[in-house]
């Protein structure tokens, strides 16, 4: 069955085509079944191919299948060819596996929606393009998937286009991504002009063999990385992702947490030969990653929308992955990608379950005390939160530790420190979310007739499965003091990506693990102090500063206190940056460029007055200028 692996992307593609064309005529039941089984088939095939792959002797190349010569004549060739090597296998299993769970979850979540068929058509189409992206054996075909997932993401963010916010968010995602894509395509063009081909092996070989001038290599690597910052929501092109939460929650889980947004990390790992050969580009990747990880974590501290917290958290975690790639720990980056796919989609889906239970409420200030009402959602959410915070023996602990160890081993102590600080913040904002949502007083404002209820089985079963993976997935990549061979994941990927930095001595690594654990626990403890033991801290503060207290007598004074005492010093910088950068520069540039384009268009339309003599005048001026140019 493994040799049929090239059908993996095609099955969801065919299903999407059928749904686009006939979706309106099919019954809801049928649509849901078809969409899920297409992804399920892909998942089966991926598993078969993966099983085949791990049985191959070490050093053997993976599966490849050239469907046909796509661009076969001319200065370069680019076949439509799928490859299935170790790196691809990881991504494919994540995409089909997590994708399947999210498809199943969606059958319940979207059951009532008017555009049910359109939703599943887009979701299948997205799966198709995502699989093309990860299975492409050359950069041009990868770009096909790259553009395709962008298109689907845009369509799905704007799914509820009746809401102006959704339509606007879709547009914003689209525009920002196009900026990245422009850089990406330029990178491809430069590569083609200089390497003479676009297959990954060729590029990595050319880069590794020193066949390319280093300046060009850096330029290409940075251009491609700009594309990645667009797709993976890194500084400076991250601004679309928080707004993308306007889409349906399963979409946020699949596209904006587990798969599409990590495509940039995958691309960097795929081209690890190129990035490893270009020091400056790697440095840029690492620092952008670290800056994003810190900055987005700080932003997550002050969000009140449950999905926005998770969105900023995603940005921050992807920053970690880039940090890992930038310091040369590509396998660690991929490892975190995988564990993140599990726990973040779990968190999103669980948040979706919460929102579902509260009939669409997303503001955490109107939640609280939900743990009693949601007996399944709460524990799985807790597992996810513990995993992302890096509490020992859950998946996030191992993968985050692998990245931090990689940074430390590479001698990048500043980056390591930033990662550690980020870990504290991560634990803090995650448990702030947990305490605000599931503990404390019930602050829900439900309409009469509604009651808070646990979600249906189709939603909770995927949650439980994801929770199991979030807890256990880390054991494939244990740190070195479990034995030289404990890092299964790293060894597994060794044939596909550049190997990382040298191993540390066991005591050093042990110390690092302890520090990482301590920072996670510190974050959780801080959150506990501020949000669980609510009466103690604010009243003590209030008695000491009566003026401040009077000021803060409000409903949500906790937030205010916390804002004044903790967040301001820590976050003010981030917020300033956010205000300056996101609101003024990026939004300004977006609105500005839209306005400029509009203005230019208006000007052009004004010139296009409909009067022949204006047209002739333009002709005359053009001709005179042209002739003058020729005469000079």
């Amino acid at each position: 069955m493994a040799e049929l692996f090239w059908l993996i992307p095609l099955i969801p593609g065919a299903s999407a085509l059928l749904l686009v064309l006939f979706g309106a005529k099919l019954s809801r039941r049928w649509v849901a079944w078809q969409a899920c089984s297409a992804v399920f088939l892909s998942f089966l095939l991926s598993s078969a191919a993966f099983a085949h792959l791990v049985r191959l002797p070490p050093g053997a190349p993976g599966l490849t299948k050239t469907l046909f010569a796509w661009i076969s004549s001319g200065p370069f060739t680019s076949p439509i060819a799928f490859a299935f090597d170790h790196l691809t296998a990881v991504m494919t299993l994540v995409v089909t596996g997590v994708g399947l769970l999210i498809h199943v979850y969606s059958t319940a979540y979207m059951a009532e929606d008017r555009s049910h068929a359109r939703y599943f058509a887009h979701l299948n189409l997205f799966t198709f393009f995502m699989l093309v992206l990860v299975m492409a054996s050359d950069l041009v075909l990868m770009f096909v998937g790259w553009e395709g997932v962008g298109l689907c993401s845009y369509l799905l963010i704007g799914f509820w286009f009746e809401r102006p916010a959704a339509a606007k968010a879709g547009m914003k995602a689209f525009v920002v991504n196009r900026v990245g894509d422009a850089a990406f395509i330029l990178g491809i063009l430069f590569l083609l002009a200089n390497v003479g081909g676009s297959s990954f092996s060729l590029i990595n070989k050319a880069a590794g063999g020193g066949l390319l001038p280093s300046g060009l290599m850096t330029l290409v690597a940075i251009l491609l990385f700009i594309g990645a910052t667009g797709k993976s929501a890194q500084i400076p092109l991250y601004v679309w992702l928080p707004d993308a939460m306007e889409g349906p929650t399963p979409v946020s889980a699949l596209i904006h947490a587990a798969t599409m947004v990590t495509a940039g990390v995958y691309m960097v790992c795929r081209l690890s030969g190129l990035y490893a050969a270009s020091g400056p580009a790697s440095t840029v990747v690492a620092w952008i990653g670290a800056a994003t990880a810190l900055f987005a974590a700080a932003m997550a501290l002050v969000q009140n929308d449950i999905k926005k917290v998770l969105a900023y958290s995603t940005i921050s975690q992807i920053g970690y992955m880039f940090l890992g790639c930038g310091v040369g720990a590509y396998a660690a980056g991929m490892f975190h990608l995988v564990t993140h796919a599990f726990f973040k989609s779990l968190l999103f889906l669980a948040a979706g379950s919460v929102i579902h239970a509260l009939a669409g409420e997303q503001d955490m200030r109107r939640m609280g005390g939900l743990r009693k009402h949601l007996p399944v959602t709460f524990p799985v959410f807790l597992v996810g939160a513990l995993a992302i915070s890096g509490v020992p023996f859950l998946s996030g602990f191992f993968s985050k530790d692998a990245i931090l160890t990689g940074a430390f081993a590479g001698g990048q102590y500043a980056l390591w420190g930033a990662g550690l600080l980020g870990a504290v913040l991560t634990a803090f904002y995650m448990f702030r979310l947990v305490y605000m949502t599931f503990y404390g007083k019930e602050r829900t404002a439900m309409e009469p007739g509604h009651s808070i209820h646990e979600s249906p089985r189709a939603m909770t079963i995927p949650l439980v499965i994801l929770a199991a993976f979030s807890a256990l997935a880390g054991y494939v990549g244990l740190p070195v003091f479990f034995g030289e061979k404990a890092d299964l994941f790293g060894r597994y990927l060794a044939s596909s990506v550049k190997s990382g930095s040298p191993h540390l001595a066991v005591p050093t690594e042990g110390l690092l693990v302890l520090l990482a654990t301590a920072s996670a626990l510190l974050g959780i403890a801080l959150a506990f102090v501020f949000y669980r033991r609510t009466p103690a801290l604010p009243s003590r503060l209030a008695s000491r500063f009566p003026g401040v207290y009077r000021l803060l007598v409000g409903k949500y004074y906790i937030d205010e206190v916390y804002d004044a005492v903790v967040v301001r010093p820590l976050v003010r910088g981030a917020e300033k940056v956010y205000e300056r950068f996101d609101l003024k520069v990026i939004d300004g540039a977006l609105n500005g460029s839209a306005a400029a384009a509009g203005l230019a268009g208006k000007g052009l339309n004004f010139l296009q007055s409909g009067l022949v003599r204006d047209y002739a005048l333009a002709f005359l001026i053009g001709a005179i200028t042209f002739l003058g140019f020729l005469l000079l």
Binding site: V20, L21, A24, F68, A69, W70, I71, S72, S73, G74, P75, F76, I80, R118, V140, F143, V144, E147, G148, L151, Y154, G158, F161, F174, V175, R178, V179, D181, A182, I185, L186, L189, F190, L192, A193, A597, G598, A600, G601, K602, L604, N605, L607, Q608, G610, V612, D614, Y615, A616, A618, F619, I621, G622, A623, F626, L627, F629, L630, L631
Partner: protein, 476 residues
Amino acid sequence: MTTFMALAPLLTVVFGALVVLLLEAFMKRANREPLGYVAALALLAAGFFVIRSWNRDLDYFGGRLVLDRFSLLLIALFVILGLFVLLMGLKYAARQGMNLGEFCGLVLLAVAGLMIMVSSTDWLVVFLGLEVLSVASYALSGLKKTDRTSSEAAAKYFLMGSFAGAFFVFGLALVFGTSGSLDFSTLLAGGVSGAGLAPAGAVGLGLILAALSFKIAIAPFHMWAPDVYEGAPTPVTVFLTVGPKAAGLAVLFRLLVPLLRNEPFAAVFGSALSLMAVLTMFAGNLAALRQRSVKRMLAYSSIAHSGYLIVAVIAGDGPSLVFYLVVYLFMNAGAFSVLAAMSRKGVEYTALDDFAGLGRRYPWLAACLSVFLLSLAGFPPTAGFLAKFYVFSGAVREGHVALAVAAVLASLISVAYYLKVIVFMYMKEDQGEAAIDQENPALYLVIFLCLFGVVQLGLWPGNLLALIRQALSAAF
């Protein structure tokens, strides 16, 4: 080989036009559709002669008519274009009050003009071919005689076209005065030898280029184009957006490629053309952003595509130029065909609002239009992506990096307005009921063929590219 057979494709088309016009004059039946079939037959016969002449390098009239593979390729393109336009017009003519016989005859004559233009290297012949094309297109744009916009388009096109034509004539005079001949090669003798062109030759060429740019719709000579494309009957718009553009670019390419290899010349003409290319791409795309009529939006998009095509000319990249032209024929004709399908007797739906909810009401039509628009926007894996990709990578390879960057940025803008139509079709509720008359088999055939072309060329471009390469290897 010098033989009378070199005239066969041209004569077939002209003969077809005469037959159609005579039949039309003596025909009493109300249903004129057989005339369309006769015209299509003439084009098919011409296509047959094109295939027969392949690889034979026929010429006649002392080398003033040359059927090398480059011109044959373009003639084949024009034959397909003519067939599409005829098929689109079969029902359209009756519904929108056009005389089918005259329409078919004029289309054939215009195609003859295009053929003349691309198969000669003599300026006088090119000029006369251009005039045949122009005169026929002026009439074609005004063929919806009861429609105010159609006749306005004809008048504007005519006035601006004859204005540009006068520049062409003066340019011809200067070129003639420089070299004593109107053949491309004698004029180039000075330029290619490195001596550079005499100022008179350069200015003469400049005047001619301005007039050709007018036909191709390159800024700042493009201003007539949106008005004419919008006002002309939709099948005619397809003809105007593809035919004159392709012929003008072919002439430009033949002329400029030897010249642009020459350093001082390339510095002057190359940079002037680059400037115009950038201007064209941005003018077309920015103005398209604001349009509320899909037809006018596509008109501006056509201008933007002229800009991308010029990039291929500047890079001297013949294969990607021809490939882009072929792809553009399919995706553009496809998009306009769907537009033509959005009509019923006396009514055409071209406003953006008319497309709202089309995805629900006419899913097939909407799906086809989406594919064409995505291709125009350059989304992979459609043919439009490959075409753009080829052109841009050629530009980078030849060192025109800034031009490639500008082109990528410009196409970035273009996606916004193409996608707007798709959003309207699938994500908006329909307001009125734009009930369309679906009985139009010939038109659906065109849509299908275009769809086939866009998908086929996007996934399996190999055969066509090999053919183009083979055709160009000999000529340039």
